[in-house]
Amino acid sequence: MRFWRSILERMSRKPAASEEEDFERELRAHLDLEAEDQQAAGLSPGEARYAAARAFGNQSLVREDVRAAWRNVGIEQLLQDFRYAVRGLRRSPAFAAVAILSLALGIGAATGVFSVLNAVVLQPLPVAQPDRLVVLQPELRNKRFVLFNPLFEELRRTQRSLSGLFAVSDEPYMKAAFGRENPGFVRGSLVSGNYFRVLGVSAELGRVLTEEDDDSSSEACAAVVSHAYWTSALHADHAVIGSPVVVREKACTIVGVASSSFRTHEPGYSPDLWVPLRPLTDPKLLASRSMAFFSGVMGRLNEDATTTQAAIELTTLFQRMQVVNEASPRPGEPPTNPSDFRIQVLPGAQGLASVARLFGRPLTLAFAVAGIVLLIAGVNVANLLLARGYARTMELATRAALGAGRARLIRMLAVEGTVVAAAGGVLGFTVAWLVAPTLAKAVSPPARPISFDPSPDIRVFAVAAAATLLAALLAGILPAFRLSGRDLQSSMAGAGRTAGSRSGKHLGRVLVAAQFALSLLLVTSAGLLLRSMQRVLAVDPGFDASQVVLLDVRDTEPAARFGETDSTAQKARRAARYELLERRLNEQPGVRSASLSWLGLFGGSYVGLNTYDVEEPEKTRFTLVDYVTPRYFETIGMQLRRGRGFTEADREGAERVAIVNEAFVRQRITSGREAIGRKLVMTYADDRRPFTIVGVVRDAKYNDLRERETEPMLWVPLAQVSVKLTSVALRVRPGSEQAVTAAARSVLTAVSPDLMVRKITTLRAQVDQATARERLLMRLSSGFGGLAILLAAVGLYGSLAYAVTRRTREIGIRLAPGAQRNSVVRLMLRESLAVVAAAILVGAPLSLAAGTLLKGFLFGVTAYDPIALLSGGAVLSLVAVLAAFAPARRASKVDPVLALRCE
């Protein structure tokens, strides 16, 4: 630290007071002496003093010049050291390349991961005073719960701690038709009227939404487009203000373009269009106390309010709205009381944080991992510089003999390390810049179009700078103190010949061991995640995900609103359309089987309804449901265990039928009774006509391969209920995916232009998506683990190769009396394995600790998985042996005669 302080002193701060004092004393002494001389020459004391001052010249100018000398020489020497360091590095390009590259990888990894972490979790919304924003999180029995609109409205009316409170309902695929154009999907957000006011966002053009726009009785409807959408899709046309846009079949008018600096209320989700919530939401939904549709609720604290006060007030109000001993909205839970409810007021500077909630932890862990890689890289370079430094002991000793002070030597070496670190920093930042977008793409929660812009901001620069500084400290200061601390005079006497100072050799080994210990941590973590992922993939999903193309479809034909049923004519028309669609799709070449469904598998949504057996109407149970066409089970490869599947004959008017899974039979049918033939009622709207169970399918996973217990589920023919499809599944012949996808698109459009495709994917990809976080972590930790091991291997190789050079004589002496060459190889291997053994001793507890951190991401393996740990250790040992091999071979080739002669 002294080194940095002295640089700082020289470059900026005033010189130390003691230095100034010292010079004043020197100056006084000079003037006194001169005055004495003058007095001796015959002047009076007063005259003598005056003469002395005159002979001295302008004192304040001299003071200035002395200070300047202090400063300038420091900078000059620094430049000199810098030039010297650059020259030295250019003389050994291999060393420079390895050192700079390893630091660049370390710094790049840390910066790259951080820039994504920053974009996803840390960056505040670009609004005025974001730290006064809060997110309201309702809880029921300490678990996240939802806020129904009527309760939200009441809270909004009665609360006093927030200056404003708004709700958002994101609609990632909102059907909108601008002007005369055909309808398409835009990223939409339905927001309360005060959304822009509370956030403090103004309009770039026109105006933003206001409270008046958010009137449920209003026939007019205002819309605000984002600046990005305005410039890209609407050609930055000023005439858009006042132009029509049809949203959700309602005619709206564009009233403004939002400020260009504002993108979103939620990192990753940037709406193209904001529309007022109330006019565009079904009034029944607005009034519902059982259906929630908000993506989130945010507010801004009053000047004098704190989050704690707000939480207390809002919780009190919220509890007052609840009823004593009410049936729990969560299936299988006891009735609720007001005290079970609570509203948490969370800091909202980053906006709604659904993605951050999901990916914050894995990204933080990944950042920690990258930090470890950086540590390893720094230690590695320190080690390399150290080894190189020993090789230069002679040179250093000469310099010391020539009068270079200890401080100067330290500075020289530190500057060298700093130059390497700085070069690594610049290169690393470039690496981060290139890698971050790819990494950002991996941050994708299921079923939402999310995109992050990880472009560096001030925070990212700060982290890159901090990483570089850390690298500089490790790579520069450590070897500098180490080397200059040695007795250079004695080195002068025997540099390059003796076995070297014990402590120096020791430090090198310790550094290599530290690298291996940290590598072990990363490798075992990667191993744990890999094994966990293997387990996930080994799970029998109960269906066959290969060769299934999924089309995410929206039937945008106007239909009955929430809680109502469509007219008979409309139902018939829709059923006919879906029947036609399924038939046409099944006729396409390359299609083995095609089906339509309401939800489908792995779409990220569970929908449950209360059901009961007609013979036991008092036992109402919550059951997952889906509505499908006849070939659904065949298409996704679910096996029918008993009874029959659906057929074309199962349509409206025929007997209503259902298929259940084995879990349903196990849990819902009293033992001994036959499942097939039982009649079930689904309590939806007013329709209580029962469905008869006709078949049982094998249990399968529905939304996550890691589901432990299969939930009871039932399926009903799409033709017998009035819901719209959202998913088309196509089992295709290998190689025909592309052709089939294109064909399916045109079939959909041909059957009805209202059938709009949102997204095309495969069932396999959909299944993988469910473990996106784990995959991200696994990939990062394997990549970083590999990198760490490589760096550690380079470190070990470097230190052993150097040891061989230093100990040529010792080896020569061993060989001279006839020691086996093998024994020399064994000696080298033993040394490298000793290092690894020490590393494992230290690294194993660290790895176990890391495992506990990973617990939440593991499936089917414990945090203390012995196989991951053992294989980590094995990999390390193997790498150590490989790294030791070349130096060991060289050692065994030492010619005893030559070795002894070089004395």
């Binding site: 010292d22 010079f23 004393r25 020197e26 100056l27 002494a29 000079h30 002496l33 001169e34 001389d37 002979a55 001295f56 010249g57 302008n58 004192q59 100018l61 001299v62 010049d65 002395v66 300047a68 000398a69 202090w70 300038n72 020489v73 420091g74 020497q77 003999a401 020539l402 009068g403 270079a404 002070g405 100067r408």
Partner: protein, 117 residues
Amino acid sequence: MGTEPPDRVELLQGTLDMLILKTLLLGPAHGHEIAKHLQRTTENVLQVEHGSLYPALHRLERKEWVKSKWETPKDRNREFKYYRLTAAGKKQLLLEESRWKQLADAIARVMWPVKEG
């Protein structure tokens, strides 16, 4: 002022450093001694303001060509800051001396060319 010789020479940039180093080659000295020595040996031809020595001394010290220490001379009971030459300073003196010689020779060759033949 009347005691000063009429034609005094301004010192060339950097030359003072060399002169100081050369002076210290004779042994450790404090600033006043160096000033007096320069005055005496050049017989007051070189215009060296005493004050201008100090920035030079401190520069040389930072470059580690001289070292300094407060010491009390035998005949006095007051401490003075003595400067002494370091090994690097000696090397530097040799370097500057040879440079100066080269320069002086080159100038001399132009100014007073030796007639050939």
